[in-house]
Amino acid sequence: MNDAETMLDRIAAAETLGDLEDLRIAALGKAGSITALLKSLGSMEAGVRATEAPKIHKLREAVTAAIAGRKALLERAELERKLETEKLDLSLPAPESLSGTVHPVSQVMDELAEIFADLGFSIAEGPEIETQWYNFTALNMPENHPARAMQDTFYLQERMPGEEPRVLRTHTSPVQIRAGESRGAPLYVIAPGRVYRSDSDATHTPMFHQVEGLVIDKGITLGHLKWTLEAFVKAFFQRDDIVMRFRPSYFPFTEPSAEVDVGWSLEKGRRVVGGREGWMEILGSGMVHPRVIANIGLDPNEWQGFAFGCGIDRLAMLKYGMDDLRAFFDGDIRWLKHYGFRALDVPTISGGVGA
């Protein structure tokens, strides 16, 4: 048994996995000492075997366990040694991943689409190079109407002599007529898009964005207009302290007409929507003028509705705090990265329309 006892000592003293394997073969291999003992059981007398067998088995178990234990220990030590050599400086920069941005105007357009989709409005579109009929006349602004001169219209050069010059649409309102013509009534649409006026300073650019809203149905009243705009403004600015004021005003294509003010307050020296320290105008609106309904080709005695128009760039500025409109159209990537939105900041009804 001496051999066996020294075996346990030698296992405990094995320094490498190789030594340990040698010991395992010496003890438990085909020609190993313990294997030999086990083999010797067969030739023993029954009486002797009865006393020897348990001892031999016990020994074998002890050796097996000792080898496994030592092996785990040595492997662990081996791993520790290896890990010592596997250090990365993870403060080194990872490969740069690119992240682009969505322009605030696009983001706000998506927000508008989401809010108004919930109210049952779809999106209508129309050309930016427009005829004077759609941009003015059909909207109850006949020739010589002072409002035509007021709007600082861009005219396009005639392509053929005698042709009435086209205009760059001065507002998104022509889409009212076009949507009405193509879709008929009842009609619930918004029309966002580029519009143009020959005006240029810190708060005016010759190109900007508007959204038009139009409802034509039976029994639509000024009360519906108020509710819709209140619902929209509250949803858009996502604040509970929004107060609004509807003022009678004048637009040739609506009657009655209303301008809509929203209360503002000062936060960190900046005017923000919400509260009632003062009023600022944010939209123009009104009940669609009967002549406009007729110009769409609908019977004004049967159909009536409301329309509104609002500057998208301005909505973006009020909500997200930009103060210079010109920067919207400069393509300065520093500005875009600061004021733009991440690709997955998709406005949704469940997730909210503010990012």
Binding site: E96, I333, G340, V346
Partner: protein, 784 residues
């Protein structure tokens, strides 16, 4: 439109405060932009008496005054005014008071060694007039110690109201008072029409030759007037309206315009030759207008002329030649009706904006000629004296009254507010409408009202929009249905895909310069009145705008630019939604792992285009590459993507070097355009996908290397290999490419997918043979 509270109260009996009135004005559609009170700025200034005045010991032109400002103390003031003397009353500003005309705040100071504790002020120092020859002298009965502004009637809030273009009637104080009275905030004072009998026939004959432009011209002479300064009350009101008093006759016509919205004109009869005629201007005629400028007239313009020359641009501005002066003794008064459309056109052509024009082009009250003339005469006779002639009434103003049949229920069905019919009638009547059953006659001054909707607005605005209950729109039961169209969805997806790939979305001008447009074949649309030459032509491509933005960014020190824009190209009668993108600068900055800076190449543009086309839902697997994207592109380093040669959905690569030069594009820019409206919609509209079960057997890959002719596009070979066995070849990936002496070597990894049992070696051999055969048809040769 500006006016003071005192002026308003001339027409409106009311106890309401300025704040209440301002709030009401805004509520009824007369938006108040500001209410200011000049008295607030002058509040510290007091009526004071000069008790004594002695020569300044150190200065000849200065005096040392002792002033009593009602405070019980004797205040020492050093004063340089020549008219300062003991016993006079004037206006005193104590230390701390701000003197607006000198822009200084008074403080106790020593002037030439003598302490001065305040200041006696001139008119100009208080911005109450031009006079600076001496200090203000007040009558002997002025109450010493009282606030000067109260004493002088300056404590009078001034409203600045924004009048919408439809409300000509509110371009006079009385019209505003009438609107306010309808709300019940006060009552409109009765209108006294002065009755003046002319004592002699009008000595100046009046004719109308242009009844279209000037349908009516009422005139009357007043002889023996004295054109002195207008009275203080009138000057005060004119100043509150922002008008500078000039002389009584001028002030009176201005006053009538501001008070009643009724422009008028006074001619100095001594400077006229013969009668006055309202006619069209003749070619080549000019007039020296009252603003001192000479205007060239055109035959479309209505003018008032005597036998020799034009004296008045009808309804816009009078002429210098026959204007009234201090020496004028006989005047001819003109109250005419000019046709709004003509006035608007003439004013625009001349670029001349005047108070008269702004009223005439909106349409003055055609029923107010007689009354206007009477008021004007009364004021002149009262202020300037003289004797009035009989009235010459030429032509007839368009006073036809409109009558509207009105269902009072409309206020509820259109305005959304239930207002009792009696109250509606009351409102309309107080605004001057005449009611007879359901027939509502529109007053002559309300040119803007011509239908039931207008009447609803009148009723509702006076009742208050605030009182209209907000009414929810009808809502379809259930979850809101999707509303976006395919193209809208496509734009949204491609936009966010681009941002996700690291591109920044820009919005650039729709108009570009002629040069930029021509570089892309020229634009079909140019502006007739561009704001600048840089913004003249509607863009035929999105690339010029992006190139400009990229250049600006790189000039500012950006190391890279990855920009995209989604917008329209304007070609012929169509506007094409397009995505443009531009990559410039560093593709990758130098990097500790990747080494040196990398530049963009055409394959980067291709990668973006493919990814973005995929995001649009385009069938990317079927795309074909057509080399050379066209004349604006680098012939060897650009290509188009199409679904067949007629359906080109994108172009990408490098711009033509000539174009790069003309547009000053950043060197090495890679660009692309995706023609969003050319991408066909997918035919599948059901939600369910085709049935699919992932294969249970492992795919096998085999590599093939071919030597191919140098001009063979690799894509063709890929397609040929794919075509060798469409059922089992699931992908063909080119992984190596290099030049050899006898052609290009291209190596492909081909993936084979067994279906129901694993391939035998023999089967794989057969597939390989077919691959080689297909390649050989294109001139490729299996590399040994």
């Amino acid at each position: 439109m500006k006016f003071s509270l005192e002026w308003l109260k001339q027409h409106l009996e009311t106890e309401a405060s300025a704040e209440e009135i301002a709030e009401k004005l805004t509520a009824i559609g007369l938006e108040v932009e500001s209410v200011s009170n000049p008295a607030e700025a002058l509040a510290p200034f007091r009526v004071a008496k000069v008790v004594s005045a002695n020569k300044h010991p150190q200065a000849d032109k200065l005096q040392v005054l002792t002033v009593d400002a009602g405070t019980g103390e004797a205040i020492q003031v050093v004063c340089g005014a020549p008219n300062a003397r003991a016993g006079m009353l004037g206006v005193f500003g104590p230390p701390g008071a701000y003197v607006p005309g000198s822009d200084l705040t008074l403080k106790v100071a020593a002037i030439r060694g003598i302490e001065s504790r305040g200041m006696m002020c001139s008119s100009r120092e208080l911005e109450l007039g031009e006079d600076h020859s001496g200090i203000i002298e007040l009558p002997a009965d002025a109450p010493v110690g009282e606030a000067y502004t109260r004493y002088a009637g300056l404590d009078d809030p001034v409203f600045d109201v924004n009048i919408t273009p439809n409300r000509q009637d509110c371009m006079g104080v009385r019209g505003i008072a009438r609107d306010l009275a309808a709300t019940g905030i006060g009552s409109l004072k009765p209108f006294d029409l002065p009755e003046i009998e002319g004592t002699f026939p009008c000595p100046v004959p009046i004719r109308i030759e242009d009844p279209q432009g000037c349908p009516a011209f009422f005139g009357r002479a007043i002889k023996g007037v004295k054109n002195r300064a207008s009275p203080a009350w009138m000057q005060r009101r004119l100043k509150s309206a922002g008008q500078r008093p000039i002389s009584a006759l001028v002030d009176i016509t201005n006053y009538l315009m501001l008070d009643e919205g009724r422009p008028a004109h006074a001619y100095d009869i001594a400077k006229l030759t013969g009668g006055l005629t309202a006619r069209r201007a003749r070619k080549g005629e000019t007039v020296l207008a009252l603003n001192g400028k000479e205007y060239a007239l055109e035959p479309s313009m209505t003018v008032i002329a005597d036998e020799l020359q034009v004296h008045d641009i009808g309804g816009i501005m009078g002429g210098e030649e026959s204007g009234v002066s201090e020496t004028t003794s006989d005047v001819l008064l003109e109250i005419a009706y000019f046709t709004p459309e003509h006035i608007a056109r003439t004013g625009q052509t001349l670029g001349l904006a005047t108070d008269a024009r702004s009223r005439f082009e909106r349409g003055v009250d055609p029923g107010f000629l007689e009354a206007g003339l009477a008021l004007l005469t009364r004021l002149i006779l009262d202020i300037c004296g003289g004797e009035a002639s009989q009235i010459e009434r030429i032509g007839r103003p368009p006073v036809e009254q409109r009558t509207i049949t009105f269902d009072f229920e409309r206020t509820k069905t259109l305005g959304g507010i239930d207002i009792p019919e009696a109250r509606q009638r009351e409102i309309l009547a107080s605004l001057g409408f005449t009611l007879n059953g359901d027939r509502v006659s529109v007053p002559t001054w309300r040119r803007d009202v011509d239908g039931p909707a207008d009447l609803v607005e009148e009723v509702v605005r006076i009742a208050g929009y605030d009182n209209v209950p907000s009414t929810p729109l009808y809502r379809t039961p259930g979850v809101a249905a999707p509303t976006a169209t395919r193209s809208q969805l496509m734009e949204r997806k491609v936009r966010r895909a681009a941002a996700a790939r690291g591109l920044d979305e820009a919005i650039t001008w729709s108009f570009i310069s002629q040069t930029e447009a021509e570089a892309f074949g020229g634009g079909d649309w140019a502006l007739a009145n561009p704001i600048s030459e840089e913004m003249k032509v509607m863009r035929p491509s999105l690339l010029p705008g992006l190139i400009g933005a990229a250049r600006r960014n790189l000039d500012r020190g950006a190391s890279y630019v990855r920009l995209f824009e989604i917008g329209r190209r304007y070609l012929g009668d169509l506007e094409h939604p397009t995505l443009g993108l531009l990559l410039a600068g560093e593709r990758r900055a130098r990097d500790w792992q990747l080494g040196k800076t990398q530049r963009f190449d055409a394959y980067d543009a291709k990668a973006e285009v493919l990814a973005l086309l995929d995001a649009t839902g385009a069938p990317v697997a079927n795309l074909q590459v057509y080399p050379d994207a066209g004349p604006f592109w680098h012939p060897g380093r650009s290509a188009k993507f199409g679904l067949g040669p007629k359906t080109i959905v994108a172009a990408f690569g490098e711009l033509h070097p000539m174009l790069t030069k003309i547009l000053d594009a950043p060197p090495g820019s890679m660009v692309a355009e995706i023609y969003l409206d050319a991408i066909p919609g997918s035919r599948a509209n059901a939600h369910a996908r085709p049935a699919y079960r992932p294969p249970s057997l492992q795919p096998v890959t085999r590599d093939f290397a071919f030597v191919v002719p140098r001009d063979l596009p690799a894509g063709n070979l890929v397609r040929a290999i794919q075509g060798a066995d469409r059922t089992v070849i699931t992908s063909v990936r080119l992984f190596d490419r290099f030049e050899t002496s006898d052609g290009l070597s291209l190596a492909f990894e081909v993936m084979l997918q067994p279906t129901n049992k694993s391939f035998t070696d023999e089967e794989i051999g057969l597939i390989a043979q077919r691959v080689v055969l297909a390649a050989e048809k294109l001139g490729a040769r299996l590399r040994s």
